[in-house]
């Protein structure tokens, strides 16, 4: 496979979906809190059905969802309401969410839409109780510093979280989601990954997006010159993006090769399946032996191509299998991979005979109940036909490692119509002007390095930290940057590595501790045990008392006197040079409850007394 993506005509774009960290959801006033399903307070179920458009046609993607009539179950919470239940009209568009999106649009230099109109985008996989996702186009035509074009920015509602198959949790439904779509302007796998990283940085720079697993998802659109647009959904790991692109390019190249070969061979597809159930009654494959029905189909001239590897771990047969699975079957067998899985050579011969297959042909069989078998064979035929035109237009999902599997057809763009229950929002110049552009995290990092003297890595950590704002406030109020950084970043990281639940510690509490250190009430040496105490639910006062019990200057003086007296010989031997060593002993004893400077002062005086003494 060639690495010359330019020659292959690679065109790629990405869509980034990022949850916004608003107080309320996009179209109702519920909090944007993720819940455990055990906390659910109720459950209901619904059927969804695709609505035909006035042209009488059903969307291909919707139609495929409808193959099986499915009942969708939903869990409700005390943090969800009738809007998520699809039992109340939506509230007006969340203005806080819109402000965040408009801010990002401004960062990207985009043209805001003069009047934002909310649309309903049909989605009947159950992840939206209404059967559609509400989405609004907010801004158009932007460009990133690196040159990548941002085509559109939309504000959408997040879908319900799938617990399993047709069972959903409503806590996530309706959380505001920004969708940033680049134009298909990238031509190398690395460019795609870099652009994604850059957009991620911009999003985080606002300080108003959700963090953590699943709060950001990348979709990648890829095609090569003779290939077709394929959309790969839900790539969550930024570092995998380039690899996904590479593998998809590989897949398209391979599919085009197969096309060429098929045409060359004059391949064709037999449309009538053959019932071969009886051939496998004594088969060692348990699946085949116990199947109510086994149907076979002959693909003329496909020999070797069904088993041809098109991506690591994926063959043309895998694609056919994905299509067949939509009918509820577990998968398929094809003669390119047989004998295997308990099927003997002899059985393969009989199978080929039964279907009058030559060595140029490939036979595919599926085993299940009759209805499922017939459905699956039709799907296999459909996918086999697509092989003649190369790369099908598809939505695909990422598999572990970066290969992908078929998910559903690309949805038609036309399945959108206005959400009449939500009034349009006019975006005024005043509003746009009032939006402050946040400092980009990349700039923050530079500033931290330059102004605060942090190292690049620490500056990066601090800039991306959720505690950045508190950190900056502390500094603005006079705390030394190094101390503030230790409190808000390094020490917490150390404690976190020890398994201490540092996320329980409140920014305000840390700030209080910092001021106590600043005023000398507590020694900075006690920072780590104090933070640990805070993580156990103590308030700052309590934490200080526990971690660094109050030691008065008199007590310090007493301790110093004792230690100095005990070690007077040593002091006399070393003179002032003894200070360092003795300081350590004293500090250990006062356990960080006293500022080192104070101890140092008292110690120096004591030592000078000893040295002056006879």
């Amino acid at each position: 496979m060639s690495d010359d993506y330019n020659a292959l005509g690679l065109i790629a774009g990405i869509e980034i979906h990022q949850q916004l960290n608003t107080k309320e959801k996009l179209f109702c006033r519920c909090p944007t809190t993720i819940r455990e399903s055990e906390e659910s307070n109720g459950e209901f179920f619904r059927y969804l059905r695709a609505t035909k458009s006035e042209m009488g046609e059903l969307d291909r993607a919707a139609e495929e969802e409808m193959m099986q009539v499915r009942q969708f179950r939903y869990l409700t919470y005390d943090t969800t309401c009738l809007v998520e239940n699809d039992e109340e009209p939506p509230a007006p568009l969340n203005e806080e969410a819109l402000d965040i999106v408009l801010t990002i649009a401004k960062v990207c230099g985009m043209i805001p839409v003069p009047e934002i109109q909310t649309m309903r985008k049909l989605v009947i996989d159950g992840s939206n109780t209404s059967g559609f996702q509400r989405t609004a186009l907010v801004a158009l035509n932007g460009e990133l510093p690196g040159g990548a074009e941002i085509e559109t920015i939309c504000l959408e509602e997040e879908a319900a979280q799938r617990i399993e198959d047709t069972f959903f949790s409503l806590d996530r439904l309706g959380i505001p989601l920004i969708e940033i779509t680049t134009s298909p302007c990238m031509h190398t796998p690395e460019a795609v990954q870099e652009t994604a990283a850059q957009i991620g940085m911009i999003l985080r720079s606002t300080g108003r997006v959700k963090r953590g697993l699943g709060t950001i998802r990348q979709d990648i659109n890829i095609s090569i010159r003779e290939g077709t647009r394929v959309e790969i959904k839900g790539v969550q790991e930024l570092d995998l993006i380039a690899e996904v692109v590479r593998r998809e390019v590989g897949r398209q190249v391979a599919l085009l090769k197969i096309r060429e070969e098929l045409i060359k061979r004059g391949a064709s597809i037999e449309k009538t399946p053959v019932d071969v159930t009886s051939l496998f009654t004594g088969c060692n494959s348990r699946v085949l032996k116990k199947a109510p029905m086994i149907l076979g189909i002959r693909l003329n001239g496909f020999a070797g191509l069904v088993g041809y590897e098109i991506q690591p771990g994926r063959r043309l047969g895998s694609e056919m299998s994905d299509y067949a699975k939509k009918c509820g079957v577990g998968g398929l067998f094809h003669t390119d991979e047989l004998p295997a899985y308990g099927v003997t050579d002899e059985e393969v011969v009989k199978l080929k005979q039964a279907l009058s297959a030559t060595d140029e042909d490939c036979v595919i069989i599926v085993a299940d109940k009759p209805q499922q078998c017939h459905c699956a064979i039709q799907q296999i035929i459909r996918r086999a036909e697509m092989a003649f035109s190369g790369v099908p237009k598809e939505t695909r999902k990422m598999l572990e490692g970066g290969s992908t599997a078929y998910m559903r057809p690309l949805p038609g763009a036309a399945r959108m119509y206005p959400e009449t229950d939500v009034f349009p929002v006019r975006v005024t110049m005043e509003r746009l002007d009032s939006l402050e552009i946040p400092e980009m995290i990349d700039d923050t990092i530079s500033r931290y390095m330059q102004d605060l003297g942090l190292t690049r890595e620490v500056a990066r950590q601090m800039a991306y930290s959720e505690r950045r704002t508190a950190f900056e406030e502390a500094i603005a109020e006079g705390i030394r940057p190094a101390l503030a950084e230790r409190a808000f970043n390094s020490t917490l990281r150390e404690l976190s590595r020890e398994g201490i639940p540092v996320n329980r510690i409140d920014d305000e509490a840390i700030k209080k501790i910092l001021f106590m250190i600043h005023t000398g009430e507590v020694a900075k040496e006690a920072l780590s045990p104090i933070l640990k105490s805070l993580s156990e639910g103590k308030n700052p006062q309590e934490a200080c008392e526990i971690a660094a019990p109050k030691v008065s200057e008199e007590e310090v003086a007493g301790i110093v006197d004792r230690i100095v007296t005990e070690r007077s010989q040593f002091i006399k031997e070393r003179g002032n040079a003894a200070t360092g060593a003795i300081m350590g002993v004293v500090m250990k004893e006062v356990r960080g409850s006293v500022d080192g400077k104070v101890v140092n002062q008292i110690l120096r005086e004591a030592i000078s007394r000893v040295l002056k003494s006879p």
Binding site: F45, D86, E115, S130, L137, L140, T152, Y417
Partner: protein
Amino acid sequence: MSKKPETGDIIRCTLEGCSLEGAYIASRDGMATIKLTSGYNIGVPEDTLETIATSELAEPQVVEITQDVNLPLISIVSTGGTIASKIDYRTGAVTSQFKTSDILNAIPGLVTLARFRAVQLCNILSENMTPSIWQQLARAIHDEIKAGARGIVVTHGTDTMAYSAAAVSFMLKTPVPVVFVGSQRSADRPSSDNVMNGMCAAKTALSELGEVVVVMHGSTSDDACAIHRGTRVRKMHTSRRDAFQTIGSDFLGTVSYPSLTVKLSPSVVKRDTSELILKDHLEEKCGIVWYYPGMSVEILSAWKGYKGIVLAGTGLGHAGTDIISRIKEMNDSGTLFVMTSQCLKGRVCDRVYDTGRDLLNAGVIEGEDMLPEVTLVKLMWVLGNSKSPQEARELMKENLAGEMTRRSSV
């Protein structure tokens, strides 16, 4: 700007120097809605538009549904509402549909249950219903039953469906089921309750019932519809699927979904119990007065000259002492007053407290456990069909169509 574009025309607009193409949809307050090729609508200043090409409407694809002539006939009388609708994804418009084929297309399962004939009576939002449309509706249903329908399904907006069901209950004695149905979620959305409600309504129309009922979701899940008597049902929630509730007694039955098994309670009126009789007179000069503390006596005068007034009083059926003398005056001049309660549940009893007794002395009739809305409709019918004021008073105290129960079950 060139001449104003028409819906569907392809236009170009310029935003901050950037040019966009899309289909023109409509304008409002100087802002034009444009549908981009991505399917998104956006609003742009109307004066930036430039028409590129005029609309070419594609012929809608008509799917003809074949009906099975061996199945029993149901007539669907439509008055409005969104039990069937179509979306034009090109323009985003959603339109209500009432032709037989439209309804059968929207609810494909129907053809397996019965043969259908659709009668479009009107197409209005149900808050615009009037007594005269109720009369047309009763007549249309009457004619359909006479023409041999085995059951009637009336599609109706949910806002005033309960009023209409009550009105038909009084005007029409029916040997077959007359089933009102609507949807709380419009038919354009995949989650609409129209399919389940429609299927359950059709199945009820074929059942052994012989009265006027409302069939709507029984819970928030798509598990079963409840069958409510037309004179005991009330919309009790603005937006939930299960908004319709029978007040003061049990509902008449259920239709499970998707099995469509109809279960009827023993208290239903059975098919063919009544002869088909239409009595469609209504006295429209009737109203509801909802009492509130401090209500001025003068407010009542707004209904001066009315033939009948339903009072929605407090508690057991009371109103401020001030207004009782005015009620007596109006009663003496020929206005018939019936007392119901704002509580909605429970029975009016004006024999317990002084105010109640004064109201009775002023000529007010106790509305027993009738719903205020149903009482209004009954009053219109009774006044339209009585030969004397005395007969009207007596009829108001009688149970005519299941609107009143003699005992308050728990």
